[in-house]
């Protein structure tokens, strides 16, 4: 089938920062994203798990954003401004998408 080149950006970020990140993404011209729940993880700031947590303080989410390659830089700059001082990970993968008109 006809596919088109795109970039898949995956940002793992604290739940408290989710709305700030998605606002920044929208400003950077992103038209869509998907948010996945995260159960737990480990990094330089230690291990954590969502089990039993009531506060939003110690949870993370994964925001996935598929965009046209030419938009990548704008997105990364917008995302970086939010993520910069926070824990979390940003990765970019090449991908092919169906229905490119959507991105």
């Amino acid at each position: 089938m006809q596919t088109h080149k795109a970039k898949r950006v995956e940002i793992t970020i604290e739940a408290v920062m989710q709305s700030r990140l998605t606002d920044a993404l929208k400003k950077a011209g992103v038209t869509g994203y998907t948010v996945l729940p995260v159960l737990g993880g480990s990094g330089r700031s230690g291990e954590w798990s969502r089990a039993g947590q009531v506060s939003r303080a110690s949870g993370m989410v994964q925001v996935i954003c598929i965009i046209r390659p030419e938009r990548l830089d704008g997105l990364l700059e917008g995302a970086f401004a939010v993520v910069e001082r926070h824990i979390g990970v940003v990765s970019v993968t090449d991908c092919d998408v169906l229905r490119a008109e959507r991105f």
Binding site: V16, R20, G46, V54, S55, G59, R85
Partner: protein, 327 residues
């Protein structure tokens, strides 16, 4: 004093405390026992709704007086002022950075609603009445401490702090637990005893049992925190975690006596001042002071001060409040 010890001992063998102990023990022993996040949140929603509602009903029954306004104001001042004390103490007693000290201080100015709930249930089983509007005071005390802490950081060179922006301010004032507590309080107030009669077999009878499960969960989370972050508990940090609630309680006591609250009201004001937030403030700190170390404030608040208040603090505050009000 005898009274105090028997109260403390009674308190210690209650299902509520022992559930917390079970949670901590299970976590420390690395059992895989856990309460799903959604279930823990549901329990906390239940507790907030129930305690807010009952507070409102009690206000509907007894009416309000000028003291309500004064108590709210006093709560706000306590919440704003206690972080300054906590901050000074931390900088004096411990080697914490300004940033970490400010973040920890914010927690101690704010309040822990579960500690409040546990105190309420001790008062109830002792037959000691309290002002229903203390629930509103609890809500009012959640946020001011955060502003004080951010001010402390800004003063010491704002470079470290993102400071407060409008979005954060709204998030803090409208965070879920405040809205639910205040909302349920207003609903209870509006519907009064009649409303309570309709739903009391949901929010009154099973209340203590639900509290047990919630404390089991808190024990599990606190135990996990102690296992992972226990290293940060140097003797001086630990000492702060026990000393600060006593200072807070003393400040709450003075304020409550000045306001002329009932013995129950005095106890609750002490409990609010003595307790440290572990829901709203940590979330705000992650946004506003992301470089502060969350292990520090979470371990202190949930792993040290909460258990201290739950086991020894509450009976102490009840005894002191009764002694000093002649209640």
């Amino acid at each position: 004093m005898e009274n105090l010890f028997s109260l403390a001992a009674d308190n210690l063998v209650s299902p509520i405390i022992l559930s917390f102990v079970l949670g901590v023990a299970a976590s420390l022993a690395r059992s895989d026992l856990s309460i799903p996040e959604a279930a823990a949140k549901a329990l906390s929603i239940y507790l907030l709704f129930a305690i807010g509602f009952k507070g409102g009903v009690s206000v509907a029954a007894h009416g309000i007086d000028a003291r309500l306004g004064l108590a709210l104001l006093a709560g706000i001042i306590l919440s704003a002022a206690l972080p300054l004390v906590a901050f000074a103490l931390l900088r004096l007693m411990t080697a914490m950075s300004r940033l970490d000290a400010a973040a920890v201080a914010a927690h101690y100015g704010s309040i822990s609603i579960v500690t409040f709930v546990a105190a309420t249930s001790v008062l109830e089983s002792r037959g000691i009445a309290a002002e229903g509007y203390m629930v509103a005071v609890a809500a009012a005390m959640e946020a001011p401490a955060i502003l004080s802490a951010l001010w402390l950081v800004a003063r010491g060179g704002g470079g470290d702090s993102k400071g407060m922006d409008g979005a954060l301010m709204r998030e803090i004032m409208l965070n879920g637990s405040i809205v639910l507590l205040v909302g349920a309080f207003l609903i209870g107030w509006a519907t009064g005893e009649e409303g309570l009669a309709e739903i009391s077999s949901f929010i009154v009878s099973p209340f203590k049992g639900v509290l047990c499960l919630f404390l089991l969960d808190m024990g599990l989370v606190a135990g996990r925190g102690l296992r992972q972050g226990g290293g940060i508990l140097t003797p001086s940090v630990l000492a702060f975690g026990v000393l600060m609630p006593l200072i807070g309680a003393a400040a709450g006591l003075a304020t409550a006596l000045a306001l002329g609250l009932t013995p129950g009201g005095v106890t609750l004001m002490m409990v609010l001042s003595a307790s440290a937030s572990y829901i709203a403030v940590p979330a705000a700190m992650r946004v506003a002071l992301p470089e502060a170390n969350p292990s520090l404030y979470l371990t202190l608040s949930l792993g040290v001060t909460f258990p201290f208040n739950l086991t020894l603090g509450i009976p102490l505050y009840v005894a002191v409040a009764q002694a000093l009000t002649g209640g």
